[in-house]
């Protein structure tokens, strides 16, 4: 039990979940090892700094261009896809999206759904929604499959089961699938393969996400290494793709740099094993492929982020996960601590728009603003800047109109007054001088217990004399002051 951390069920707030995760040595080893390896892979994949930076800049401009004409591109995408025979649906909320998906499945009397990896379907909690309506929705990405089998949520957007080691997976497989225990990863994967191949054959509907939706050609581009994405989008007679409205790019050529940025940033691979470009359902003369292809475009708070020019940059995200791989906070607490679909730095800046800041009040503050995330982001999202901005939104007076949904959730009159006092101290030199004198002269009175600081540190005892005093004396000696 100590090995398994369904932290989401254990505690309601970030700090309590973090405390649980931090105490779990196995979990911390699993994350640290995996993140170190991913950091190295990314570094090795970008040996030339000039090339990397040029590409990041291009990626940033491609996404900015797409966002600057987002409504037009969405309409163009819809028109092109429709022309290609794909049905396009729009959903403002996850509830609407789920209803659309359910409707499509019902129309085919579908009972079994097989799913390729899709973070948007996680946002929708599609599996649960369909299960409540007697439709089995099975994850087919190995990591997602493992997580689903254990009744958990993904802890990483690219590596959903990264919090588990092989022994933990083995125990799970022998418990749930009645397989002999083995620590051999190859054998574990072959178990997954056997089980899921049958499911691909039987499934009535395949669900997938989308990495890039290309307006110019009406194409859905999906990347993957396993082949489950191709299976899910090709074998069942119906394919439903679900995606966020920010995934659209203008031109086909735009995906060339984005694809390179995505696979190298995420996994350090020059390219994934499969890049799957879907531009339509099976044509009459073709022998396989789905008869129906649907695209569900989901808003779920994205248009709220879009409304503010600074926070709009959040929507540049291509979901590579590099920000979490490089995050010292994520590395230590793992994905479940965030308690939401998107963990890590990107989760901290996007979840407030989806769930509301009041649902994740600790998210913006759970960062030392070290800047590692912004440094590696392939589309140059200024993540630290956005975290800082969300902190401002978080302490806004709730009585004022809010820019972010659920803003003002950390508003505290007391804290505001403390900062006002701090302001006074730091804008009145005489007062500041008096403070320095008092703090240095009364240094022996520094409390041994200074709240959260002294949990990790000795008491912050000031020096005998402040720099103000020492410098003054020094400069006086020099005859200056």
């Amino acid at each position: 039990m100590s090995q398994r951390i369904p932290v989401t069920e254990l505690a309601a707030d970030f700090r309590s979940r973090a405390t649980t995760a931090l105490a779990d040595d196995q979990l911390r080893t699993n994350f640290r090892t995996a993140m170190d390896s991913l950091i190295k892979k990314r570094a090795d994949a970008f040996p030339d700094e000039q090339e990397r930076e040029g590409l990041r800049e291009l990626g940033n401009r491609i996404k900015a261009r797409a966002l600057s004409r987002l409504p037009d591109l969405l309409e163009q995408l819809e028109a092109k896809l429709t022309e290609n025979g794909v049905t396009v649906h729009w959903a403002e909320t996850v509830e609407q999206a789920n209803r659309i998906v359910h409707g499509i499945i019902e129309a085919r009397n579908g009972r079994q759904v097989v799913k390729g990896k899709s973070m948007v379907s996680e946002e929708m909690e599609m599996n649960d929604y369909l299960a409540r309506r007697d439709i089995e929705c099975l994850e087919s990405d190995m990591g997602e499959y493992i997580v689903q089998l254990d009744g958990e949520k993904p802890s990483h957007i690219i590596m959903p089961a990264i919090h588990k080691n092989a022994r933990q997976v083995s125990r799970l497989f022998s418990e749930k699938l009645d397989e002999p225990a083995t620590d051999d990863v190859n054998e574990l994967i072959q178990t997954g393969r056997r089980t899921l191949r049958r499911k691909f054959m039987e499934a009535d509907v395949g669900v997938s996400g989308v990495n890039f939706a290309i307006a110019e050609t009406g194409t859905l581009l999906l990347v993957e290494n396993e082949g489950n994405g191709r299976m899910s989008t090709t074998v069942p007679p119906v394919h439903i793709a679900v995606t966020g409205i920010e995934k659209v790019v203008q031109n086909l050529r735009d995906v060339v740099p984005l694809l390179s940025l995505l696979t190298r940033s995420a996994l350090g691979q020059p390219i994934t094993t499969y890049v799957n470009l879907i531009s339509g359902p099976r044509k009459p003369e073709e022998l396989d492929g789905p008869e129906e292809v649907h695209l569900v475009l989901l808003d779920n708070g994205r248009s709220g982020a879009f409304a503010d020019a600074q926070m709009r940059q959040t929507l540049n995200c291509i979901r590579c996960g590099a920000c979490m791989n490089h995050c010292p906070v994520y590395t230590r607490v793992g994905g479940h601590t965030y308690g939401e679909v998107y963990p890590g730095p990107i989760g901290k800046i996007i979840t407030p728009h989806m769930a509301g800041l009041n649902q994740v009040p600790d998210h913006p503050g759970a960062s030392s603003l070290c800047g590692a995330c912004g440094e590696v982001c392939p589309v140059k999202i200024p993540i630290p800047q956005l975290l800082q901005r969300l902190r401002q939104e978080n302490v806004r007076n709730p009585a004022e109109p809010q820019v972010v949904k659920g803003g003002g959730s950390k508003y505290s009159r007391t804290e505001r007054m403390i900062w006002q006092g701090w302001q006074l101290l730091n804008t009145r030199p005489a007062l500041y001088g008096l403070f320095l004198r008092a703090a240095t002269r009364l240094r022996r009175l520094t409390p041994k217990n200074a709240g959260p600081w002294t949990r990790n540190h000795s008491a912050p005892v000031p020096a005998r004399r402040s720099l103000h005093e020492l410098a003054d004396a020094h400069l006086r000696q020099r005859g200056d002051q």
Partner: protein, 223 residues
Amino acid sequence: MTARSNILGKLRNSLAGTTPRPDEFDEQLVTRPWQYPPAARVERLRSLMEAVHTEVHQVSATDWPALVADLLNRRNLSNLLCAPATDHGKALQHYWQTTGQRSQLLAYDRPIEQWKTALFENVEASITGTIGGIAATGSLVLWPDRHEPRLMSLVPPVHIALLKASEIHDNLYDLMTAQRWAAGLPTNALLVSGPSKTADIEQVLAYGAHGPKELIVVILDQA
């Protein structure tokens, strides 16, 4: 319709008074670092693909059926899914007939619904053509069609792909441009860069996740 107009309305409202950003696409950034002398393309593709467990062979454009027969025999495979109507399908059939091969050539000649179980359970290997390769990333490009449907390169545990050396492009951008992809794509286009794999358990790389366990690339030199 209301969701659609609400979403578009909100987005338009947020962009009020702004102009769309210009297209600053710089093709140099995606081409210049990825250029190779023609002679080096094969080597680059081969080394990248081999690094991800792909078996790569290079033979003359006429000798390849013998190699394919040998590949099957060495693996003790009893059948091979191929497209009889294509040039390479014809060549293969001819070779099989003249040499009396033990393994059976199968054709994907019915809609998937009519033989799904057989495809998943009985077919041991497949052979398809490609419409090109990419040296920069070590990738094959496939445009499945009625002769070589999408699942041919996915379901059988062994996938053999024929690639003409002359059709290896430097990078994806060059290939897309040369083949005029933006003017129209097939219902499904694929880049394949190795056998199926996963690193989802402890980051340990395991091959044969859901797709082919083996990818064999046969590079054809000019006849």
